[in-house]
Amino acid sequence: MSTSTHSGSNRIPGAGRLTPAKTVRFTFDGQSLTGLEGDTLASALLANGIHLVGRSFKYHRPRGILSAGSEEPNALVDIERDKSRKQPNVRATVQEIYDGLKVKSQNRWPSLTFDVGAINDVFSPMLPAGFYYKTFMWPKFAWKTIYEPKIRAAAGLGVVPGESDTDRYSNRFAHCDLLVVGAGAAGLTAALSAASTGASVIICDEQAEPGGALRYESDVIIDGLPGFEWAVTAIAKLRAMDNVNVLTRTTAFGYYAQNFVGLVERISDHLSNPASDMPRERLWQVRAKKVVLATGAIERQMVFANNDRPGVMLASASRIFLNQYGVAIGRKVGVYTSNDSAYAAAIDLKRAGIDVPVIVDTRDNPTPAVVDAARSLDIEVLTGHAVFSAGGKRRVSSISIQPTRGGSERKVAVDALIMSGGWTPSVHLFSQSRGKVAWDAANERFLPGTYAQDCVSIGACNGTDGLQATLDEAFAAGGGKGKPIVATGGPNWIGGMIGSAPGAGADTTVKAFVDFQNDVTAKDVRLAVREGMHSIEHVKRFTTNGMATDQGKTSNLHGLAIAAEALNRPIPAVGLTTFRAPFTPVTFGAIVNHARHDLFDPTRRTPMHGWHQTQGAAFEDVGQWKRAWYYPQAGEDMHTAVNRECVAVRNQAGIFDASTLGKIEVVGPDSAKFLELLYTNPWEKLGVGRLRYGIMLREDGFIYDDGVVGRLAEDRFHVTTTTGGAPRVMHHMEDYLQTEFPHLDVWLTSTTEQWAVIAVQGPKAREIIAPLVEGIDMSNEAMPHMSVREGTICGVPTRLFRMSFTGETGYEINVPSDYGRAVWEAVYERGKPLGLTPYGTEAMHILRAEKGYIIVGQDTDGTVTPQDAGLTWAIGKNKTDYVGIRGLLRRDLVANGRKQLVGLKTVDPTTVLEEGAQIVANPNQPVPMTMIGHVTSSYWSENCGRSIALALVIDGSKRLGETLYVPMPNGVIEVEVTGTVFFDEKGERLNG
């Protein structure tokens, strides 16, 4: 057996650039196959004579490989490394093979060669465009429950993996002077030109190999070298330069504002055993001063009956398979064209020893030179003829040829057919950049028209024909000085046809595919027009033409031409749909990149977090923070643990981690003045060493945040905010300071994380802490409730706050964060024999509710004023300005009938209300009842021996003693309206 048969019977010895000795084993639907290192899956399958690769989306028609690049609409497969690393809809023309690659075909059952769903093809007259929209309209509910799931199961493309992806993905922000997209002759020249000036350059290409069309153009000489060799030399030269970053296997998928371009680099998809550290893909977020688009052109198919049969392929693709991979796509290959470029393919194939029985050219008078060249190799050329139909089912077996003006039919046996409908400049990225395309009527193509960004298109994507002209244009785009590169030969992008070919016109009902991936035929486009779709945007949505994952790279222009013909309007008048990102599908992995697992979102932990863990604490998420929720002891459930913690705080003392509270240091001679403007309370007269509870409003008069503020010096305040409110309060304060009150001499510094905060609350709080504190007289007289002192605790500096969110005598010990854990442990060891009990956020919530202290965001909801919340006392009566002062005067804010905060006691003390439950005055009224309020906080209070609740109730303060009702699914709960304080109403314990 020769080496060539090892890697497939269609490998042509001596052809292509792969190394015959480097074989690679892979499987396709379980069949073990051999390819060569460097093969794409498509080239390896073709080398093994496999054309049938998948089934189509709607009709389940057998489909093969249309192209050799990222525009591929048909050959979509499923690649599976393992259960979690599984990717559907991989283009076989892009995926490179590696040892052990496992490939499955898609969209077929039970097998690729026998697919039950193909019955759709037989019944296709009943499945025209728009069929789904029209048929599955009624009954309405059935769309979601019956039709959609069934249709999705039957159609769809591939299957999503069931497990989370274990691959790594990464991200890189990059900046450059010049980003060159495409490393063909144009892109390479532009990059070389720019790099020679010292500019920083990034050049990317979606292929593994540079060169673009040079990979298959056989007669090109650039700078004295054969085209591909020149490309390899050029890329090596670029790689060696410090100011150039060469990214192969990298697709520029999105072109956003201000030259921000998204690239995805495929790093390990082609490797057999990628290292575990290696990301699968890397997202590049590139900001370029200038972008050069050298994205080339995409060949179109001919639109004729059964043009989707496996073995029917774009002419240029056959050249890539032959000249790059050494693969013959068939042994008897027909050619169907409407332009010159397919002749070069025919000649390449013929020279490689492949039988080319006929070139069918729709043109009456093709360029004599190309016809002569073909004929000189004994290839029959039929001008003014068309292929009316392709024969064969799972592989093309024949073509039916007729003169374009009608006449006798001739059938030619083939095992492959290559076609060229001409070249569509790839203006996708240009269009994404918000550039406006212009219609080139002479050559029937859209070209870059008006640019919206600092960007230039060069070469085929700019409609520049001729290699030398392209290189000259590219060299200029790069801004280089010196002599331009000289080239001969090269492709010709001119000519071809758009729309349906002869034999697939409006008078026919044949299946001539425009959009292979979405199974849209020329007939479907005409139907859409007949149904009243007169804009291409409507035609597109009705037929789904161009809406598949390939975004209509091969189909858009054909669809547009057919619609324009049916509408009898010129093409530009029908319009071209705007291209949107991404150019080719992008994995969620690449978009998410690092933001997975631990890096999905920051998890914030307090300095004492580790201690809570050692005590078996359950944690609660509060924003990004983890807070100790409760500390269950052996055998305790949450309820028991929380009850124990609540009782301990009132009877002995509790220790609580309050480090997450927001803290802002307000410094400067105008500090008090500034706080006067930001809070409802008066601050000027607050003595040094004293604390005050402050309320912050928005300009509309509603409560925004609250917290205790301490005056450390005449010109220095320690402000606290709610845990969740810290960033927005800082932003809010900075906003007013910078833009409304910039004349004030005040500065704000966030100190949230400078301080660990250890709250010790309860009758024994002072007894526990005092021995550890130095430099502070903690006696009740010297340091009363609501005061702050600076001194040391356990030998480290502290800001000791005497304050309480429990109603007990309490202290909040602030120490620099790194000392938090040690001080906490010292306090705990000292207090443990006295009954000091750690308590979590749940007990904290209950203890404060027992005292009627509100939690902003729980008992307020952005529509609650201080008056509503029973906090009128916290408003400075003589103040003439503060944020919210005018808002509070609004008519609706002072009117009767506002919801006000009250306490609720259930008549049955064991019933605990549900937070959020609605309250009514009369439970016997018909539904929908008039709701007069809702429960904001509700708990079992072990200290009160009953349930307690806070609620916002219309005119609540006038309803004390009233009985109200809370209707629930299993009965109505009777409640009594009370004051908001349930425990120690006189507040005597604070001063103990």
Binding site: D277, R605, E665
Partner: protein, 184 residues
């Protein structure tokens, strides 16, 4: 009488190993950090007290021995000094209007050093870190992934990343992850 046990410091981060040879991600030593705020007319007195001319140009820093001052905003500087620094006392000597707030424990410093350190930071930081745009000595508040950082280039291949302590786990893990990627 209860014996007072001197509290000891505990850094929020446990340094882990990074199996990458070309670039390192390590914890910076404990440092004294001050957030200094002042108007233009106080700059010269403060500079004198500090022994460093406060940088006035955006994205720059100035240093003198172990003490460095980073420009963060038009009236804002971050002072980083050795842990036993006398910077607070030095600032107190300047009898001009200013706000000096100790944030030594608020921040954590992480050092990214070695070949490709810029790319490691660019794994999550959107700024242009070329030497032209972000030369040695450049400093700026910016973002890294989903958090805010202060970035300071102390050498061609050395960056100091400062973040709030509860974000330091995230920053450290992010930079390690990015370093693995850069080393590929």
């Amino acid at each position: 009488m209860v014996e007072i046990v001197q509290a000891t410091r505990r850094h929020p981060l446990q340094a882990g190993q990074l199996d990458v040879a070309s670039v390192s991600v390590t914890l910076a030593d404990n440092a004294t950090r001050i957030s200094l705020r002042a108007r233009d007319n106080a700059v010269s007195a403060l500079s004198k007290a500090l022994g460093i001319t406060l940088p006035m140009k955006p994205k720059t820093s100035a240093s003198n021995g172990g003490r460095a001052v980073l420009w963060l905003g038009p009236d804002e500087w971050l002072i980083i000094d050795n842990a036993d620094s006398a910077v607070v006392a030095d600032l107190a000597k300047a009898k001009v209007l200013n706000s000096a707030v100790d944030i030594s424990h608020r921040n954590v410093g992480i050092i990214v050093a070695g070949k490709g350190a810029d790319a490691v930071v660019n794994g999550g930081c959107p700024q242009d870190l070329s030497l032209k745009a972000f030369p040695v000595g450049a400093a700026s508040r910016t973002v890294l992934g989903k958090i805010e950082i202060v970035l300071w280039r102390t050498g061609e291949d050395v960056f100091r990343v400062e973040c709030w302590r509860s974000f330091s786990n995230y920053a450290y893990a992010f930079l390690q992850e990015s370093a693995r990627d850069v080393a590929i």
